[in-house]
């Protein structure tokens, strides 16, 4: 599932570099605060384990082909989400730099698709909820299967979105999705079964390794989840937004016969309108008219709407975060006084 540079546009690749870089920085901060050096050595060797384990192939029943362990979920179970994320990111960096497996621009996307989903979504919200801390083999099996499959499917969906957003391929969104999801569903089931097999072996021979990690995902990761969801809604679901006028425009149209107010030709209004035209780099949630013509009218995919959605979501997050930070500081100062 490693993406190549040639399928990505610099905007999409750059955005995911920033997203993955921020997640690496945040995870590193959390781990450094823990100050548990023994796990640092464990992370390094477990990263090497993932590389080595991928050499050991097994036959996939009914297909005649063979596969190998991916390791994302297993790392999250053994190390906790933050350390697993850093370990997986390091594996992907080495694969990119020395094995040409995944491109340099695509590194951010690959880290996001292959490390973020198993470590920060599948492990805390699926595996831990179903099988975490339980000795029951059935729960362990179900949890591993569901988490590995969901993690891989989310990664595959993300690959499709990133590729379609980049606009390099001619494959339509629906067709591409229909190709990717069933393949990764099968791979996810196999990954889940192998992970479960390894966990059962460890539970029998060295159960201390499966003691839940101290670094649980707390409300901050719920914030991360909401951030991802808002980006997806803003970036993708906005393509399918209704082209019909909203309630206010509809009311104005009924009353005045036009969907917008007639412009007032006063100097102040004109100056403000001119300023707005200059400042608004994505007018009406799309690109300015010169680039809009590049859009395929039959496709719902609209890069301008996507960029508007993502920029909008990030702006709201930044504004809310800044206000929260300022209020928090004020409160701390007031408490000190």
């Amino acid at each position: 599932m490693h993406m190549s540079d040639s399928l990505l546009s610099p905007v999409v690749g750059g955005t995911f570099w920033i997203a993955s870089g921020a997640l690496i920085g945040y995870s590193a901060k959390i781990i450094t605060e823990e100050n548990d050096n023994s796990k640092t050595a464990f992370m390094g060797v477990l990263g090497a384990f993932v590389f080595a384990a991928q050499m050991i192939n097994f036959t996939i029943p009914g297909t005649g082909s063979s596969g190998h362990l991916g390791g994302g979920l297993l790392l999250a179970i053994l190390l906790g989400p933050y350390r697993a994320f850093i370990t997986l990111a390091s594996v992907l960096i080495i694969q990119c730099l020395f094995f040409a497996d995944g491109g340099l621009l695509a590194l951010g996307c690959n880290i996001f698709n292959l490390a973020f989903f198993p470590a920060f979504i599948a492990f805390p919200f699926i595996y831990r909820v179903i099988g975490g801390g339980s000795a029951s083999p059935e729960k362990l099996a179900f949890g591993s299967l569901m988490a590995a499959t969901a993690g891989l499917l989310m990664g595959a969906l993300s690959v499709v979105l990133q590729t379609v957003l980049s606009g390099i391929t001619e494959l339509p969104f629906g067709t591409f999705l229909l190709f990717m999801l069933p393949v990764h569903l099968a791979i996810g089931i196999v990954e889940g079964l192998v992970t479960w097999g390894v966990l059962v072996f460890i539970a029998r021979t060295e159960p201390s390794l499966l003691v839940p990690s101290g670094t649980a995902v707390h409300p901050r990761s719920t914030f991360a989840l909401f951030a991802v969801l808002s980006l997806l809604v803003g970036g993708v679901l906005s393509w399918y937004a209704s082209p019909q006028p909203d309630g206010l425009e509809w009311s104005i149209a009924k009353v005045s016969g036009s969907s917008e107010f007639r412009p007032v030709s006063e100097p102040l209004h004109n100056a403000l309108a001119a300023l707005q035209q200059k400042v608004a780099f994505l007018p009406d949630y799309g690109f300015k008219s010169t680039t809009e013509s590049l859009r395929n009218p039959e496709s719902p995919v609209n890069a301008g709407t996507t960029l508007s959605g993502i920029v909008g979501s990030l702006s709201v997050l930044a504004a809310a975060g800044t206000i929260g930070l300022l209020l928090g500081r004020k409160r701390t100062e007031a408490e000190r006084q």
């Binding site: 599932m1 190549s4 540079d5 040639s6 399928l7 990505l8 610099p10 690749g13 690496i24 920085g25 590193a28 781990i31 450094t32 050096n37 640092t40 050595a41 464990f42 992370m43 390094g44 060797v45 477990l46 990263g47 090497a48 384990f49 590389f51 080595a52 384990a53 050991i56 192939n57 097994f58 036959t59 850093i86 370990t87 990111a89 390091s90 960096i93 080495i94 990119c96 730099l97 020395f98 040409a100 497996d101 491109g103 340099l104 621009l105 606009g167 390099i168 391929t169 001619e170 494959l171 196999v190 079964l193 192998v194 097999g197 390894v198 059962v200 072996f201 460890i202 060295e206 390794l209």
Partner: protein, 255 residues
């Protein structure tokens, strides 16, 4: 640790006779920055502009010859180009059949051009990246990353991973060989028989990690192998980055 890394024999084999890439790309840090700029500039070429993509081949080609790197190493890696990329290129070939140009009576469709651009971009970007990374030892790449404010923890993780992947690789190879000798075809290679084997490798790994941690602690390990404080970019580095940026801009403007 660093001196051992310097002389390691890991799978990430480097060309011994390569001329230091620093002659052309400045410090390791500026080499990494120039490589990132190269990839971004190459990928900003529109999907139907084949000459524009080919023009960027000058960067890896120049470095390969200037550093006297064994081209076979790059070619071997390029032959393993992701099947996913080839699939996407083939998709363009089938889905976009609009004729866009005719040369000597042969008509080329839009899909043929954009599919070729996808493959060409992959080959050129991978060749550029590999040329730079094969010329700079891994520990120096890690130092450069550190000086670019990559978190210490990630740099330490990369150093440990690179060092121990070769050790565990040998261990996994031995296990795989032993199983192949005893399995007679596919027998014993099923999914559920492989899981205990992987579990066993994991247990050996943890034992090794424990030994490693004890020996590192005895030598004063404080959780970081990366310890140099990041310095600001020197004027020479800015000059190198600026010149290459100008070169990439010129390529984008001309083609």
């Amino acid at each position: 640790m660093r001196s051992r890394l310097h002389s390691d024999d890991s799978g990430t084999a480097r060309h011994e006779r390569a001329t230091p890439v620093s002659l052309f790309l400045g410090s390791d840090r500026s080499a990494l920055i120039v490589t990132v700029l190269f990839v971004f500039s190459l990928l900003s070429v529109p999907k139907f502009n084949l000459p524009g993509v080919i023009a960027f081949g000058t960067f890896p080609l120049f470095l390969m010859f200037a550093t006297r790197l064994d081209v076979n190493i790059i070619v071997k890696r390029l032959l393993q180009i992701s099947p996913f990329v080839l699939f996407m290129a083939a998709g363009n070939l089938v889905l976009d059949r609009n004729p866009v140009m005719t040369i000597s009576g042969i008509t080329f469709s839009g899909g043929m051009i954009s599919g070729t651009v996808i493959v060409a971009k992959t080959i050129i970007s991978v060749a550029g990246l590999l040329t730079v990374t094969l010329c700079i030892p891994f520990y120096r790449i890690c130092s450069a990353l550190e000086s670019l404010h990559v978190p210490d923890l990630l740099v330490t993780q990369l150093i440990l991973l690179e060092r121990y992947s070769s050790v565990l690789h040998k261990e996994a190879q031995a296990m795989q060989k032993a199983r192949d000798i005893r399995s007679f075809g596919r027998r014993g290679k099923g999914l559920f028989r492989t899981a205990p084997l992987l579990g066993s490798l994991l247990l050996r790994t943890t034992v090794r990690a424990e030994r490693l941690y004890r020996s590192m602690s005895a030598r004063g390990f404080d959780g970081r192998l990366a310890s140099r404080s990041p310095a600001n970019m020197s004027p020479q580095e800015w000059k190198t980055v600026g010149l290459w940026t100008l070169f990439f801009l010129v390529l984008r403007l001309i083609f």
